[in-house]
Subunit: 336 residues, 2 copies
Amino acid sequence: MHGSGRVKIVDVAAAAGVSVTTVSHVISGRRPVSAATRARVEDAVRRLGYQADPSARGLRTQRTDTVGLVVPDITNPFNTELAAGIQAVAYARGLLTVVCEAPMTDGPQLPAVLGQLTARRLDGIVLGRFGAQRADLDLIAGSGARLVRLGTRIADGPGDVVRGAETEGMRGLVRYLVGERGYRRIGFIGGEAGVEPGGERYEGYRQALAEAGRAVPEDLAVWTGFTREGGRAGAARLLDTAEPPDAVVCANDLIAIGALDVARERGLDVPGRLAVTGYDDIDAASMVSPALTTVVNPAREIGRSAARLLIDRLDGDEGPAREVVLTHQVVRRTSA
Amino acid sequence: MHGSGRVKIVDVAAAAGVSVTTVSHVISGRRPVSAATRARVEDAVRRLGYQADPSARGLRTQRTDTVGLVVPDITNPFNTELAAGIQAVAYARGLLTVVCEAPMTDGPQLPAVLGQLTARRLDGIVLGRFGAQRADLDLIAGSGARLVRLGTRIADGPGDVVRGAETEGMRGLVRYLVGERGYRRIGFIGGEAGVEPGGERYEGYRQALAEAGRAVPEDLAVWTGFTREGGRAGAARLLDTAEPPDAVVCANDLIAIGALDVARERGLDVPGRLAVTGYDDIDAASMVSPALTTVVNPAREIGRSAARLLIDRLDGDEGPAREVVLTHQVVRRTSA
DNA sequence: TCTGTCATGCAAAACGATTTGGATACGTGA
DNA sequence: TCACGTATCCAAATCGTTTTGCATGACAGA
């Protein structure tokens, strides 16, 4: 009849014929315990199904063994992969992961969500791609939680950073479009203006064009939203201009999928008449047809790296802020 | 310089000139406090940025204000929607949600993950669609956590249940295929045999055929896995039979997307030469072309219902086990 | 034999909240 | 004046761990 969730450390101590101190020491290994005693204790733990109460432990140790991930949209597949990556390495270390959504729509939800999280005394927080205010970052840092920011620059605030080589990735993609495929008039559809990682991706597009000696067509860059709907609107705008593009480079895959929609509606052959490219390589990118040529943004690996940074900090690493940048690779499918 | 995360209830009491008891009472409202005192305390809380320590509170109250969701695959969009639904209503109640993945591959991970969760003393657990053993369910129930199971029957174990009307949904879909669209030889591609909700969906398919006076073609039902790859394999098997089907009904959308792949490879017009249907209506279902005719499985609403059930229990509802079943609606797109 | 070192194990003091059983003061009715 | 509610507030016990400072026994070196 064990496992009723009610067995306490004193019960284990009684069963093993030792004091609670000794039980604690064999569990934590913080002081030596003779092999014989250790065996008796471990046996009692097993028999009784003892699991330390996390509240009591946390009260004493001031740790919750919990880390959080905050993202703007929990259903976005990129964020899901991120969460999976963090979860995997955190779980292996006995850390629980909670992922929270702080929608960017209807006002700044971020401070409220962050308030909930700091109230929970999380050991660490991974902050997904936001236009986070400096005050938000300081709130986290001030709460005692270690912080890892995603997709921004190290100088922007406290904590460590992991980000992808967005600019380089996009530059490689556009270079491929003009160099190997010979597209001539290349448009750009961005997400919300000013929201990362839109800026860096646009920068990569601009650089590649400049390197190739092409003029950067200012009239062929539009900013909408990082959604399929945004892609539809953006593509429509671009195709309705006097001199429409023969290729559109999109700031993410969802936008590209929206662009594919309008191409199909208008009977435009892709990639013959119009090339379309995405960014991120979410699952859906290879499900649509034509399959998207895009850049793989290693979301899961980003999550893993972030979790590893966090764990290093929790293990006492007090070195200077670190930044890990992951390379991005273009994957050629049929849409361009 | 407040908000340093170190302010305790005694600090608030001192600042307000009252005892800690009184502070606790104005916060919890468990005993009356005069308006003047209340105001002073609330002001102090605000000024100091006091947030109660969850470990200390949890130790005393034996609650963690945390609920968990366990799913086989955290990146599956259906599960993501589920999580979003739970999260939304839990968050509004001040509950934190943790979602855990217990992969069905490489052996039974479920017991291990469940062990981690019961060690955390969660207040409630929502258990996604698994082939969960009775022992697993009893483990949860025995840990003191309230349990909501998804997609199974109420009689199968402890806790409440929320499930979709899978059988009816599939019956409606197949009825549409034979009645309105006139398909004659309809195959079925299932996921892993014996894993919910495969059985119910197959049952719906069978019933619809029987109702229409059709023979149920035993040779046209194959079981693979709930993935795109599974769909590819299943469709190939079906199309290579002596008398191939003119329509394939798939147990979920990913399978259907795989089936679409092989139709495209073989140059089969969909839906002219072969109809393909899915189930769940994940985002990708409307992104592929032809867009999938499928059945919408209201994942987010399922999540909301589950969270509401949990909260009722946490609020003291000790009534008999409850079961909420949500209707499923077929959505007609172009693939059938 | 005496002293000093290890190796062990224990008792008791935190950790920061909630909650119970009184205390205090103030009216009120007899 | 006395007894008795009522409205407020407080002191102290409690939740289940971890961890610090000692106590004990064994053993070695002098």
